[in-house]
Amino acid sequence: MKKLINDPGDVVADALRGIEAAHPRLRVDHGNRVIVRGDAPVTGKVGLVSGGGSGHEPLHGGFVGPGMLDAACAGEMFTSPVPDQIQAATTAVDGGAGVLHIVKNYTGDVMNFEMAAELAAAESGVEVSSVVVDDDVAVQDSLYTAGRRGVGATVLLEKIVGAAADQGRDLAALTALAGAVNARARSMGVALTSCTVPSAGRPTFELPEDEMEVGIGIHGEPGRRRVPLAPAREIASMLVEPILTDLDFTAGDGTIAFVNGLGGTPLIELYVLYAEVAKLLDAAGVAIARSLVGPYITSLDMAGASLTLLSVDDGMLRLWDAPVDTPGLRWGA
């Protein structure tokens, strides 16, 4: 295992020190492993809290700041945070208008956020609402699965709902908006290599040199099927097709197209993929309103990419364009 780390057990704690040192406008609660906006709580504003296992950086800590999240909880590597962390974050950002939990749909995340919300209600009286993001079409949302996973849509949702929270919308409105964004987003990913979890010390799965895993998750969970390595144009259609089959993206006021790198894939390859995706979307009559290309929700050092499409209305588009000032996404500020 070749990683720029100290002890495999210290990666999350060490990275939090780095985030604190590099971003003076964020506050880091090392005991609880919570990253908070420097000016939190913002009185009268709904607090946005997300979090999840570490290893997906910049998600979520890199999205803390004006126009996006108020706090993020960093779990152990690929392991959802514990209720104590989530509760600490919730308390830290409660400005009197309630707190929205943005939860990716994984059994562990859902249960830990649930327990935290129970505790918050019982102990501190903070009004907590939550949205569970489940955009990954690789997983069928059926009785036979834990439901679709939350992947790329999380980034877009945190940006859009973060902008709406900054504009002063209330908890109910933000919860509804978050639900609407989630309902209009779909994702699909592909891995060329496995990631290596530091404490495990070896790749989570073995992929032969001439194969790739289609429908991969962001935790090195194997995907749905293994197929021969293919050129980018074929990979693009393996990503685009199941998404367009699942939801109609020709309606609405346009689509945000998000090609995401999984951590080990360089930007030049993401642009190659984006070119193919754009061509396919154009052919399918999907109008790209905005695009995002880069590693925003990663899976440690995994080589691969995911595609997220979000069908936006004009309001969402304005919220997307609104200023944001975080380490991971920044414009207009």
Binding site: G75, E76, M77, T79, S80, M111, P222
Partner: protein, 211 residues
């Protein structure tokens, strides 16, 4: 040897579980690599190390001991196994109350309330390729042998065997809960990591009570 769960045997149970987890950590992670995200071993060792550190002798009844275990697991593990094992111990402890010794039937009832808590938290049932598939048959076997007049230690030994069989029975199952369910049919052919750690929990109970 009294045929009971005493405060000391409860403590030994927990410590025995911790020791088994530490010894099996790599195996648990390897199992989780195949159908999950390669962290069940590190999750459980982190939790049980925290538990060992938290048990300082200030817990003077079985209920507070096991609730402390549950709370510590909830606060230190995360993931799916944290809330599940945490809820299990919290419920067993709550049912046990402030007793310093549990009769066989009382212990069995406490364990069953833990099972119910775990089911409610995870919204799962048996046959879904989870830790429940080791725990449920173990408690059924325990109840059966106890009502046949078996001793607690014999019945727990039988329960441990049933847990191991339940664990092995997860191999051919297709997961419908947890991370392994993402794999669909491809989850078959692998032993469930949570069922494997759960079998260690039952085995630790049998050893602690018979010691």
């Amino acid at each position: 040897m009294a045929d009971q769960l005493t405060l000391d045997t409860a403590r030994a149970w927990v410590e025995g579980f911790a020791a088994r987890i530490h010894a099996a950590a790599d195996e648990l992670t390897a199992l989780d690599s195949a159908i999950g995200d390669a962290d069940h071993g590190s999750n459980m060792t982190r939790g049980m190390s925290a538990v060992s550190a938290a048990l300082d002798g200030s817990q003077t009844d079985i209920g507070s001991l096991l609730k402390k275990v549950g709370m510590t697991i909830v606060s230190s593990v995360g993931g799916a196994s944290g809330p599940l094992y945490g809820t299990f111990f919290l419920r067993v402890g709550t049912t046990a109350g402030d007793k310093t010794a549990l009769e066989p039937a009382e212990f069995a009832a406490a364990l069953r309330s833990g099972l119910e808590g775990l089911k409610a938290r995870g919204k799962a049932t048996t046959g879904e390729k989870t830790m429940l598939d080791a725990l449920a048959p173990a408690l059924d076997a325990l109840d059966a042998e106890l009502s046949d007049g078996g001793s607690l230690s014999d019945s727990l030994a039988t329960a441990a065997t049933a847990a191991a069989q339940g664990r092995d029975a997860t191999v051919p199952m297709v997961a419908t809960k947890g991370r392994a369910s993402y794999l669909g049919e491809r989850s078959a052919g692998h032993c469930d990591p949570g069922a494997t750690s759960m079998a260690l929990l039952v085995d630790a109970a049998a050893t602690a009570v018979s010691a």
